[in-house]
Symmetry: C2
Subunit: 426 residues, 2 copies
């Protein structure tokens, strides 16, 4: 038997799929219980088609999605175009045409996943997307298969390779943010508009997906607090190092008594924390649970072959179900009603980097302000910037998110003080 697949798009990741199907043919065929055949490949237009044919690619290239939708021999559609449209329309149409779909499109799934999963369910087909979180790390399927006996209490993730590459350079080499961004751009890790990577948006998309698999709840993208790495200075990095921390952009999802909460924020990680050693463009997801305790899953977050490997793992899993002739389960079957945590339940330590006039009584003003919020200092470091200005770094004791938000607002409003940065401390 042969399972026929169609690729939407033939960019870098998509061309990794035939690589694996060829290099690992025997194992894949045995595991899938079928040959996997690339029956059609959708490209933009005739120009792209002709250019690919000239390069020697011998696929059945088509330029209209209808050629795939109306082809009843095609079992699985693989969407690897990225962005929201036309990917969303094509996936919707494929599901409605009763074709299973595999995608790596995290933006789309984070923003419109519920809608697409409902369409899949209505049409008795499945939508799989292992590659959408941390590219090559088999994290979603592992949460589905191996954590169903366990109860997860916390996820910590370094899931954006670009910002982690930059933070690694800022920590190891003492580079500024701008220097790190320039190098990331030069190496092709950062796009011309790096917003999604450096402001935590890409990582926040992944937190939405991880919240579904790890906690059975869907956190709306708009409810994932996210802050990026733009404000981090060599002074922040230095102080972190002196205190035994490294700074990374960390996504966190926790379940507390009142519910769940997710954020992506710069974080002081203790150097002995397993996540602190995840460097460069590598990704890792650290999982805390009542059964296993602490575990971490480390690997490449992107790249042609890693992403294609996750895509082909989905194709194999779907093929196994198709060959059994059974109704395929949704990728993630763990669902509960989403309940958000109350801010009082979210306790953390924070680092505050503040600049102020260098005159007597400034620290006292800050201490009074913290005291009024029932918050307190764990450590304070004061240094002169020049004759007139001083830098004050505070590591606080634990406070809840209401206290933190209120303090940030009040420090920012304090005449003569500049709140330069805040960083969560783990």
């Amino acid at each position: 038997m042969t399972i026929k697949i169609a690729l939407l798009g033939f960019g870098t990741v998509a061309s990794g799929v035939p690589f694996l199907l060829r290099e690992n043919a025997e194992k894949i065929t045995t595991a899938a219980g079928s040959n996997i055949e690339i029956a059609k490949v959708l490209v933009r237009d005739d120009a792209e088609k002709n250019s690919l044919i000239e390069k020697g690619h011998q696929y059945n290239f088509v330029t209209s999605i209808d050629d795939i939708l109306t082809d009843s021999d095609i079992d699985i559609v693989i969407e690897l175009m990225g962005r929201i449209e036309p990917a969303k329309t094509f996936i919707t149409q494929a599901l409605q045409a009763k074709k299973h779909v595999v995608t790596a499109n995290k933006d789309l799934l984070a923003l419109h996943g519920a809608e697409l999963l409902a369409i899949a369910a209505e049409n008795d087909v499945a939508l799989y997307y292992e590659a959408a979180v941390a590219g090559g790390i088999p994290i979603l399927r592992t949460l589905v298969n191996s954590y169903q006996s366990d109860k997860i209490t916390k996820i910590l993730g370094v899931v954006n390779g670009t910002s982690n590459f930059m933070m690694t350079k800022m920590v190891d080499e003492g580079w500024t943010y701008d220097e790190a961004l320039a190098e990331a751009s030069r190496l092709g890790y950062a796009e011309s508009d790096p917003t999604n990577d450096v402001d935590g948006i890409d990582a926040a998309y992944k937190m939405v997906l991880l919240s579904q698999f790890a906690f059975g709840m869907t956190i709306n993208f708009d409810d994932v607090r996210h802050e990026g790495i733009r404000n981090i200075t060599p002074e922040d990095v230095d102080l972190a190092q002196k205190l035994g921390f490294v700074i990374k952009l960390v996504g966190e999802i926790v379940e507390r008594k009142s519910g769940i909460y997710a954020e992506v924020v710069p974080t002081f990680l203790p150097i002995e924390h397993q996540l602190a050693t995840v460097n460069g463009v590598m990704n890792a997801v650290f999982v805390e649970s009542i059964g296993i305790g602490e575990a971490m899953f480390y690997g490449p977050g992107a790249g042609q072959k890693p992403t294609a490997t996750s895509v082909v793992a989905d194709i194999i899993a779907l093929s196994q179900g198709i060959n059994k002739g059974e109704k395929l389960l949704p990728f993630n079957t763990f669902t509960r009603d989403t309940v958000y945590a109350q801010k009082e339940d979210l306790l953390d330590k924070y680092y505050f980097a503040i600049e102020t006039e260098d005159k007597a009584g400034q620290l006292l003003l800050l201490a009074e302000l913290f005291n009024a919020e029932k918050a307190s200092f764990e450590q304070v470091f004061q240094e002169n910037i020049d004759e007139n200005r001083a830098s004050i770094a505070i590591i606080s004791h634990k406070m809840d998110l209401n206290q933190f938000d209120s303090l940030v607002e009040k420090i920012a409003a304090l005449p003569g003080f500049t709140l330069r940065n805040t960083i969560k401390v783990i």
Copy 2:
């Protein structure tokens, strides 16, 4: 519907099973599609039974395996007694009685797995054992489910918590082997006879199982070269640190052109290698493959709750199959004929720690000996031990395993020289 299970043994790990079934009841029931009920618990004798009842345990304790074998309501038997017998007999009988079996017994599986899997297949039942390798790390199921699209080329594993705890103390604190062993014993990590842990035997068992899941081949336990950490001295650790390495007991399985090879040996790991940061009793399996590239799976290697979590994950997977009424697949479906690598295909660098009389020409003798084997030095360190003796440490260039074995034999036979230790360099 209810799936009834029987526990063989009610030691530490076994009592973690009811903990999870209780604390995580809703999620487990939903995932399994059934209630999971502990129908019977086999204990040694009436004395143990009475003692457990006095402690408040309210299970249906039985003292004869026949009470479980003849109970047609019992679907799954969970063997958590450890050791070879009577576990082997009981598992055999349970499979023959058409009951699925879950076990964490790596010694048994490494030595008699093929036989037990054949009995399972004959009786159309399944034998699952996620907990047998690296306790709480969901590595076997991940290799089954997520690496079927990929081709693994190398596995590196820190898979023995006791020896890794000791090596961590020897590296971080400069302790001797004896000091580290004393502390491991005091904390209950090392048994009164620590042989299996410190001589690499336990890790070698795990390499046998990993070879099946990662490479589809079964390496016989007797073919896993294994050497432990007894000979490692603070001098070895010091030199490693000076050169940017840490020493760990590492299991390695590689596939080369000629076939596969597994060994468990002390290893110089570069400090920037992800495995080098796996400390204390924690375990990790580092996987190299043509698709994903480099990935690592980190977590607890043992312990009540982690091991029970893996056991319950197996119970859920079996329950899902039982509820579908379908024939259950073997845990691992990836099998190829086992072909062993030729020694000429196995190239590594090695560290040689040698003691000799402190007189002229000794290093020349060693250089001649290496040269005769077509091997060569990359780095040499010489130090006086006392007035009469010198210590020579050599890091070689890459050599194959024939060259290495021959050199070890010849250095050991060289009058006036003592080959104190050899360690592989990654």
